[in-house]
């Protein structure tokens, strides 16, 4: 038997998610505009964590993935995340190499 979506159909949760996304955006703007973290790397890490939380809310609720079958949910999340991890290991060590050692 396939995993059939079971979830709350109430519209209220979508307003809560929308509100949370607006609040998180406000926090990002406050952090970025006031340069709360002087180190750009630290700022980047904090902003990316907030962005990942926002994207998870959008994917889970607005895009409805939370209510899809487990197979679909995990296949999409694992495959896309896996590709991003590979991209990360391709790009960033090289960017740091250029920064610290120069182009050789």
């Amino acid at each position: 038997m396939h995993d059939v979506a079971k979830h709350d159909d109430s519209k209220g949760q979508y307003f809560w998610v929308w509100g949370a996304l607006l609040v998180l955006t406000g926090v990002e703007v406050w952090l970025g505009y006031n340069q709360v973290f002087k180190d750009p790397k630290q700022m980047l890490e904090v902003l990316m964590v907030l962005s990942i939380i926002k994207s998870a809310l959008i994917i889970a609720y607005f895009m409805h993935l939370k209510f899809e079958t487990a197979l679909m949910r995990w296949m999409i999340v694992i495959s896309v995340t896996g590709c991003f991890v590979i991209m990360f290991f391709f790009f960033f060590p090289d960017a740091n190499r250029i920064l610290h050692l120069g182009v050789k």
């Binding site: 038997m1 396939h2 995993d3 059939v4 979506a5 979830h7 159909d9 519209k11 979508y14 307003f15 929308w18 996304l21 607006l22 955006t25 990002e28 703007v29 952090l31 970025g32 505009y33 340069q35 750009p40 700022m43 980047l44 902003l47 990316m48 907030l50 962005s51 926002k54 994207s55 959008i58 994917i59 607005f62 895009m63 409805h64 209510f67 899809e68 079958t69 197979l71 679909m72 296949m75 999409i76 495959s79 896309v80 590709c83 991003f84 991209m87 990360f88 790009f91 960033f92 090289d94 960017a95 740091n96 250029i98 920064l99």
Partner: protein, 270 residues
């Protein structure tokens, strides 16, 4: 959205006429197709975002051109996209209860927020280009050479290239999304509206503005929409609205990464 996912029954025996194997993901094929497209498109944006970050890390000093006005503008753009996602969810709800007029109204509200995003972004681009931030292929407005950002364009060309490349790709996706929703909401009635918008854009936007040429995306959208609507006319149902919503939310999702990376990480320190 209980009926959004197929409540299919297990096909007891295959090979019997009229029976089909149950779908692997428990969802209708259009939805699976859209998810697979979005997975591939996320890699396109992922590559662009990684390329931007790569340039951001190894280029020192990185330009910090976005002042208070730009940040306020970009924050309003973000709020527009987030609100459009909420109205899109409402459109899917309305479609599932077969309420045609509210489905259309919510889709039009979503299109309004999407259009507001494009207009605000276009204004931001125009301002930056007038202040000197430009690419070699762009038309040159008067006084651009002496603008505040002219040195950035020549000294750190990676900034303009990655900024315009990334945001143009996203703006194109938003434009395609607005056209997609227009086709679902208004069907053939949307074609003359799109035609008028294209003509208005082409004749009213000055030729030294990059959007005088960018507005041709509307003409391409008009041709593609006309081909789809005339070759395969149909009454779009709740599934179509939900699939168009997936695309729209994805466009919103991508901006959640572009906004902090491009704008907030390049804020002008006052």
């Amino acid at each position: 959205m209980a009926d959004a996912t197929l409540q299919h029954h297990v096909a007891a025996g295959h090979g019997t006429e009229g029976e089909f194997e149950a779908p692997l993901f428990g969802a209708y094929s259009k939805k699976v197709g859209m998810w697979l497209f979005l997975a591939s498109d996320s890699l396109t944006f992922g590559a662009l975002l990684f390329a931007f970050s790569y340039n951001r890390i190894y280029t020192t000093p990185w330009p910090m051109p976005f002042g208070k006005d730009s940040i306020i503008n970009a924050t309003i753009m973000t709020a527009c996209l987030l609100s459009s996602s909420l109205t899109m969810v409402m459109a899917v709800f309305a479609a599932q209860r077969h309420d045609r007029s509210w489905t259309r109204n919510w889709l039009l509200a979503t299109m309004f927020f999407g259009t507001a995003f494009i207009v605000l972004h276009g204004m931001e681009w125009t301002k930056l280009i007038h202040e000197g931030l430009s690419l070699p292929g762009f038309p040159k407005p008067a006084g651009q050479e002496s603008g505040e950002f002219a040195k950035i364009s020549t000294g750190v060309p990676q900034f303009a290239a990655t900024f315009f490349g990334l945001t143009a790709m996203h703006m194109l996706h938003v434009t395609i999304g607005v056209i997609y929703l227009g086709v679902v909401a208004l069907r053939k009635w949307f074609l003359p509206i799109l035609g008028v918008l294209w003509l208005a854009g082409y004749f009213l936007i000055p030729s030294d503005n990059v959007f005088h040429y960018g507005v041709q995306a509307l003409l391409i959208g008009l041709i593609v929409s006309a081909v789809i609507l005339f070759l395969k006319p149909k009454d779009y149902d709740a599934h179509d609205v939900e699939v168009s919503g997936l695309y729209w939310h994805f466009v919103d999702l991508v901006w959640m990464f572009i906004f902090p990376l491009v704008y907030l990480m390049s804020t002008k320190i006052s």
